[in-house]
Amino acid sequence: MQEKATIGKGVDKITLLLYYTLVMVGFIAIFSVEYRSGDSFTQSLLELKKNYSKQVLFIGVSSLVGVFILLIDSKFFTTIANLLYAGGILLMLLTFVIGKDISGSKSWIALGGGFNLQPAELCKVFTALALAKYLSRQETEFKTFRSHLIAFAITLGPAILSIAQKETGLALVYFSFFLVMYREGLPAWYLIVGFSIVVLFVTAILLSFPVYAIMIGVIAFIAIFYLWRLIRRNFVLLFFILLLGGSCVGFKYFVDNIVFDKVLKPYQSERVLSMFGKTYEPKSADRIALFEKEKATGKKKDYTYNVKQSKIAIGSGGFAGKGFLKGVTTQGDFVPEQHTDFIFTAIAESFGFWGSALLLGLYFFLIFRIIALAERQRSVFSRVYAYSVASILFFHVFINICMTIGLMPVIGITLPLLSYGGSSLVTFTILIFIMIRLDADRQMILR
C-alpha cells in the first residue's frame, strides 16, 4: 500500500470534469431563470438573496464536502455504512415530528439561516452504502429469496418513508436499486414482472373495461392454445393461467377504483391520466362530491398547467434555441418551479435541441463513465456502490426529463447537479465523491 501523497491520486478526472461541467450548467440555468435585465449581478451575488447566488454557496459547500470526502479513508465508508443508514432512517422519522412544511411536503428539517435539509435526499447515499455493505458481505448469498427480501427491505424502507412524507418522486428513485440488484444477480423475472405490471397499468388506463377484458381473454386463450400439451400434463397450469387472467381483469378494477380514487391524490390522478390524454373521472362518491364542489365554486385548478408550460418552453426552443436570457417563457415566469424541478426547460428554451441533446449527452457520458468505473472495481462493495450511483443518477435524469417533456406525470424530483437546492446538490456531491474516493482505492478489497 502506498502512502497517499496527494488527495488527487487515483481520482477519476473525467468524472470530476463532468461533475463540474454539469454544476456550472446548473448555475447558468438557475441564473437565466432568475436574472432580469437591470439586476445588479455582483450585488445580488454578495447578498445571497437570489437563488443563483445561494447556488454559488452550495457549490462552494459541495466542493468542500467533496474535498473532505476525498481525504477520508475508504475503509471508513464500509465501516460506517450501516450506522449512517440507521442515522438516515432516524432523521427521516424525525421529520414526522419536527418536519418543516415546504410546498406541501413535510420532509424538511430547518437548519437555520433559511437553509433546510431534506433527509430523504441524503438517505439515498446511506441506502446505497448499506446495500453495498449488505451485498458485499462474505456470508451474503444473493441467490436466496431471503437475501432478496433483505435487500428489498434495505432499499424500499426509505421509499416507504418518503411516500409517507408525500415525496412520491423521491420514493420512486429507490426503485433504481433494482438495477443494481439485477447486476448483482437478482433474477431477471423480478424486473420482467415489474415491467409487465407497468405495461398492464398503462394498458388498463388506455383501454375501456370491455376492450381490456376481451384483450386479456384473447391472450389467455392463445396461451392455453399454445400451452395445451403442458396443460394436459398438469391441469394446475390451466388454473394458474385462468387465475392470472382473472387477476389481470381485476387489476383494471383496482387501477380505476382504488389507485386513482383512493391511493393517489386527485391532482396526482389528473396528472397521470392527462399524460395519456385522459381526463380523470372519479368513481367514488366522496371524490365525485369533491369535484362537484370544486366546479361549483370555480376553484378547480388546472393540474396540467405545469406540463403545458414546460412543453411550451421546451418546444418553443426549436433547434437553435432563443439565446441566453432571451426565453420569453422563462423570463415571464410561466413555468412553475423552473429553478428546481423544471430547470431543464430553461436550458431547452434558451439553447434549443442542440443544447438539450448536449446536456443529455453529458449525463449519458457521466452515467456510462460511472458504470465503467464500477466494472473496474475489485471489491463488490465499490462496484455495488458505483452501480447505485449510476442507477440513482439515471433514474433522476430519466424521471425528471420525462416529466418535463410530458412522458411522465409531474412528480417532485430534481435534475441531478443542475436543479437549484443545497440538499440535492450536496447529496449528489457526496454520492459521486464517495464513489470517486472508492475508485481511487479500486485495488483494495473493501468489505
Binding site: 411550451i312 417563457t329 410561466f334
Partner: protein, 702 residues
Amino acid sequence: MADFNYSRQTTIRIIIGVVFAVIIVRLMTLQLFSSKYEKLANDQAILRKVVYPSRGIIFDRKHRAILDNTTMYDLMVTPSQLKGVDTFTLCRILDIDTAEFKKRVVAAIVKNSRNRSSVFEALLSPEKYAKVNENLYRFQPAFFLQERPIRLYPFNAAANVMGYLSEVDSSFLKRHAEEGYLMGDYAGMTGLERSYEKVLMGQRGIQYILKDNLNRPIGAYEKGAYDTAAVAGNHLYSSLDIELQQLGEKLMQNKIGSIVAVDPRTGGILALVSAPSYNPNLLTGSERRKHFNELYRDPALPLLNRAVNATYSPGSTFKTLQALIALHEGVITTDFTVSCSGAFYGCGGGHPMGCLDKGVFNLQNAITISDNTYFATVMQRVINNPKYPTVDSSLAVWDRYMYAFGLGHKLGVDIPTERKGHIPTPAYYDKVYGKGHWNFCTFRSVSIGQGEVDVTPIQVANEMAYIANKGWYKTPHLIDSIEGGDKYGLLTKFQEPIKPTDIPEEVFEVVQNGMQGVVERGTGTGAKVDGITICGKTGTVENYYKGVKQPNHGFFCGFAPRENPRIAIMCVVENGGRYGGTYAAPIVGFLIEKYLNDTIAEGRKQRLEQMANLNLIPPRIYKELRVRDSIERSKDTANLKKTVYWKATKDTLQTEEEPDLKPEAKKSTKNDKDSNGVPLKIKPSAILPDEKRKIKKDTSKN
C-alpha cells in the same frame, strides 16, 4: 470474489441507452417537428401593443389652434397591492364613500384580475388630479396615474364642424377592414375628424412587450428591436375664422338654424354655424357618454350639422337664380317688366299667387322688392320657351342650370353627411302626376323657391359665391392645406374654379344691382352696414311639420363688398316667424361687419346683444322637451334642461317682445293681416292636389 453476472452490465447499458434514445426522439418531436409551441409561447408572453400617435391639430385661418390635444389622467388601481393604502383619504379626495370604493375595486378585479391595473376613475378633473397627485405617495403602489391624450377645443366652438371621436364598433371595423383599426380604437365619427381621419390619425406604432405569467408587463421584447415608432398625425390648416364662427354661434344661440360664410375667391368656408350647438369639450371628458346621450335625445337635434345636413325650400333667395336662367335663355331682357296687380294670374284666376307691392317692376326692382308675380311670369317663360318642343325638355334645361349652380347634388364639401337637396326633374313630375299630366302651373310655386325644391344652407352660400364671382365658384371646403402635403389628394378638387355656364357678366351685374337694392331699400335693409356695399336676398319659407303649419323659416343670403367680394354668406333661422329680413338679415349684417371690419361698430353692439339674446326656439321644441322630461324625470335631465334651455328662456323672455327691428315693423303688421287675409295667400292644396306628397310648400313673400 467471482462475478457471475458480468454480462448483465450490457443489459443495463442497453436499458439506459434505450431510455435516452426515447427522450431524444421525444425532444425532436417537441423542438424540431412541432411549430405550435413557439406560437403558444409568443402568444402568452408577448403583448403586441399599439402605440397611438397624437392626432393632428386643426388651425384656423389665423393659425390659432381650434382643435388641440391635451393630456388628462386616469387613476389606475392594482387590486392585489391595496394593502395598507390610505383608503379614507382617497375616498375623500375623489368624493366617494367606502362602499363605492369597494364596488370599484371588485369591478376592477372582475375586469382585469387582481394583478393587473384597471381604471379606477377615468379622466380626473384638474382639481382631483392635483389633489391625487399631491397625495399619491399615500396610495402607491396600488394606485398610479396614467396619461391619456384627449381632444381639446380651446374656443368651445364649431362643435359640428370639428366632429368628435368615438370608439369604433364592429360595423366600423368591417367597413375599414384594411386600415388596421382594432376594437377599442377611437376614430373620427363626424365632421373634420371623420373626413380627415387618415391625415389626423397619423401612423400607429407597435410595441412588443414581454408579459409574465400574471400578465404584467416586464419590459420590451428584445429591447425593442421589432418595435415600430408611432408617427404623429399631420396638422390641418383651415379656412375657418374662429372669431367669426364664435360670433355666428353667439348670434344663433337660442335659435335653430344655420349660418354658412364662404370666401368666394377661394371657396374656403369662413364660418359654418349649426344651431343649436354644444360645447364640444363635453364629448371628450369622463362624462362623454352621459353628455352624448343628452345631446342625442335633445329634440332640437344639436348633433345635426344643419349647414350641410338640413334641407329647406330656398324661398325667395331662389329668385336670383331664376333671373340668371331667364336672362341667359333670352326669354327676358334686363328691361323686361311685369305689372303686378296684386297676384299672379298667369295660370288663370283660380288660385292667384300674391305679391306684396302692387306696381310695375323691371328685373332689378323685382329682385329688390321680391315680387312673386314677376318671377312666376319669368319661370313660366322659361318653361314654355318655344325653343324647346315640350315642357319636359324645357324643364330639363332649367334643371341643368340648377345643377350647374350647385343645387340638387352634393357639392363635395369636406365634412361628411352632406345632403344633396332636391331639384324637381321631369322624371320626378312624371312619377308624381303621370306623364303629360303636368305643366308649369302644376309647379309654379317652384318659381319662387317653394314646393318641390330643397337646398342645404351650404348650397345657398355657394350660390352667393357664384353670383359674387359673376359666374364661377370653388367647391366650399374647410381645409386649405395639410401639414406635410396632401398625400391622399383630399384637397385637389377644391383648387379648381368651376365655371359651369357661360352666362355673361352683364347678366350678373343686373342681378347684383337688384340684390344691392334689397339691402339698401328693399326687403333686407336689416343687413345694412355703413360703409360696406352689401348685396343680399331675403327669403321667407313657409313650412309644415307633420302636416301642421309652423312659423316661417327666415332666410338671408348675400355677399360683400360688391366691388371685390370677400365674403359670401347665408343665414337661416328656422321657424323664427315673420320674414327673412327680420332676423336672418341683421345676423348676416353683423357677420359681414365683423369679417370685413374685424370689429362691430360701437353703436351696433347693443343691438348685437339683443339679437344674440333673442329666443326664437319654436314652441314645438319646448313641448317635445316637456313631454320627454315628464316621461323620465331624471335628475340629470332636469339639470341639463335648467342649464341649457330654461335659463336661456328666462334671460330672453323680455327681449323677445321688444319691437326692435323697425324696418320690419310696418311689414310685420301687414303680414298679420296678410296671413289672415284672403287675397295674398294660397292654400297649399291649391298648388299641389295631394297635400300629403310634400310637407313644405306654398308661397313665399318678400
